[in-house]
Symmetry: C2
Subunit: 345 residues, 2 copies
Amino acid sequence: MPPAKRRRVTISDVAALAGVSKGAVSRSFNGAERLPASTVKRIHDAADQLGWRPNAAARAIKGAPAHTIGFVLQRDPDLLGLDPFFPLFLAGLERVLSQNAYSITIRFVSDATEEARCYKDWVAEGRVDAFIVSDLRDDDPRFAMLDDLGSAAVVIGEPPADVHRPSVFHTSDECIEEVLEGWITRGHTRIAHVMGDPNLQHARRRRDVWARVLERHGLSTDALAVGGFTEPGSAEATRELLTAAERPTAIFYANDIMAAAGMRVMSELGLQTGSDVAVFGFDGIPLGPYLSPPLATIACDYIELGSIAGQVLLEELAGRPADPERRTLPARFVERASYGADAAS
Amino acid sequence: MPPAKRRRVTISDVAALAGVSKGAVSRSFNGAERLPASTVKRIHDAADQLGWRPNAAARAIKGAPAHTIGFVLQRDPDLLGLDPFFPLFLAGLERVLSQNAYSITIRFVSDATEEARCYKDWVAEGRVDAFIVSDLRDDDPRFAMLDDLGSAAVVIGEPPADVHRPSVFHTSDECIEEVLEGWITRGHTRIAHVMGDPNLQHARRRRDVWARVLERHGLSTDALAVGGFTEPGSAEATRELLTAAERPTAIFYANDIMAAAGMRVMSELGLQTGSDVAVFGFDGIPLGPYLSPPLATIACDYIELGSIAGQVLLEELAGRPADPERRTLPARFVERASYGADAAS
C-alpha cells in the first residue's frame, strides 16, 4: 500500500516562505500585473521549492481554463478496436495538444440523454475548455446544446449548412466517383456496395455516391447489402451478394475491415479477388497492403485530420475565428491488386 | 458563432427557490447528514428545476473525487495507430468506467520530466482520482512518484517484486515456450526471433523466453534481429535473416504487425510462408485471420485486460484492497496456417 499522504503544502506555506500575503501569491499566479516582477519571481521560486502550484479547481471557479478538451462518444466502446479512425485521430490530435500541455478527457455514453448530461456537467463543473464533436447524426442535438452552453468545439465531419462551427473533414465523394467510373470504363456493369451502419451519415453518403454513379450509367443499384461496418456483417452481406442469381463482378466496401472479411468469403466460395470479383475498400488501414491480394482503398489521413482539429481548437480557444470555417482534406485512391484489371464477366 | 452565454444559475438561485441558505444547499450536496431528508429533497428538486449542480472545482477544493482516471503515456502518439493494445484496452476500461460515470483523461508526454510534472500537476490540481501506469520501464520512477503523491493507481504489466500496487497483466512465457517447443518437435533447428523495441521490458522478455527454449535444446540463438515493433523495422530485420548464409526455417515475431511485414518480404524473396518459413506473431490482431496465409499468433485479450483494470481501480477507489494484488490473464496460442506443418529444411 502507498504510504499515508504527507501534509499538503498550502498557499500559506508559499506566502510565508516568500514573505508576502496569500493574496499576493494568488495574484502572482493569476497573471495580475500589479506585482513587481521581482516579487513574482520570489513567490514562484518559493512555490517551486515547496512543490506547490495553484489548485486547478480554484482556478476553474474563477473561470480559468482547464487545459483539457472533452471528447464524448456515443458508441459501443467494443467497436474501438476495429476502427482505424479513433486511434489515428487521437494520435494526430495529441501530437498538437500535448505540445501545448493540453489533455483530452474521453467518455463513452450509451444514449443521447447521458450524452447531454455529460456535456452539461463538464461545462458546469469547469472540466473542459472545448469539445470534439464526431460521428454526426441527423438533426444532431449537440449543435444547439453547444450554443446553449456557450462552449467552444470543433466538428469532425461536415456540419449542416446552417451550423457555423469550425469543422474538419475528408472529402471523398469525387474520389469514390472516379474509382467507380474506372470500373465502368473497364466493362463492369454489375457493381455491388456493402454499406456501413445506415444510422451513420457517412455510411449513407458513401452509398448515395455509389448509387449516383451507377444511375448515371443506367446500371442497376439492386446489388446493395448492409454490412454495418463489422466483419460478421460483411461476411453475411458478401455471401448474399455472391450467391445471388446475378453475381456482381465488383464490390465497393464502405470500409477496409469489411473488405477483408468479404475477401475471405470470396476465397471460401472459390472466387478470385481481383479477377472474379474486383474490390476496393475505404479508410486505408495499415494492414491493407499485406492482405492477399493487397487491398485497393480510398485512403483517409486520420492522423492529419486529428492534427488539424487540434490546431483549430487551439486557435478557437485563443479567440481567433476559424478561417476557413470548414477545412477539408481530400481522400485519395490507393490502387492495389484487389481493384482488378478488366471486368470478369 | 454561438450565441452569448446565458446568465449562469448560481447556488443563490437554488437557495432562494428552495427557501434555504446557501450553506444548506452546499451541505445537501456534500453528503452532510445534518439536514432532514425532506429538506435535502426540496433543495435537490430546486437544483434540478434550475439545471444547477455543484461546481466540480468547488468540490475538488474540498477533496471530493474528480470521477476521472489519468492515463499518462510517454510515447510517440504516432505509434498509436498500429498498436492493437491501446484502443482495445481503452475499450475494455471504458466499458467498466463509463457505467460508473468515470471519465479518462489522456496525456502524451515526450520525456520523464514532463511525465513527472503531469502526475504532480494532476494530483495537486485535483484533476484525477487515480492513474493507469503502463509501458513499464527499468527502475521505473513512477512507483516512488505515486507513493510520494499518495495516489491510487493500477499497473498494467508485472511490477517489480518490491512494488505493492494492484496490477493486471498477461502471462505469456509458458505459451511462447510451448509453441516454440512445437516447432522443435517438428524438426526446426534454426529458429529466428524478430525482437521489439529493446527499451521495453516486454520486448526483452519475449526475446529471453525464445533464447531460453533454444538454449535448452542446444540450438543457436544467433538468428536474432531487432524490428522495434514497426513494419519497416521488421521488413529490414526479416530481409537480413532470410538472406544470411544459414537461413532460419521459422521466425517468431514479437508482434503481429511485424509478422505481417515479414511475410511480405518472404513473398518478395519467393519464399512460401508456412512451408519455407514458419511464422507466428504476438497480440492477436483482428486482421490476422485475413492475412495470406492466415497468421498464427499468441493472442492477448486486451479488452478483458482493460475491463479488469477498470474494476480494480473502482475497488481501490472504494477503499477495498486488491485481492489478489496481482491479477493475470493467460495469453493463448491461435494456430493458423503460417505456423506450418513440418520443418522445411
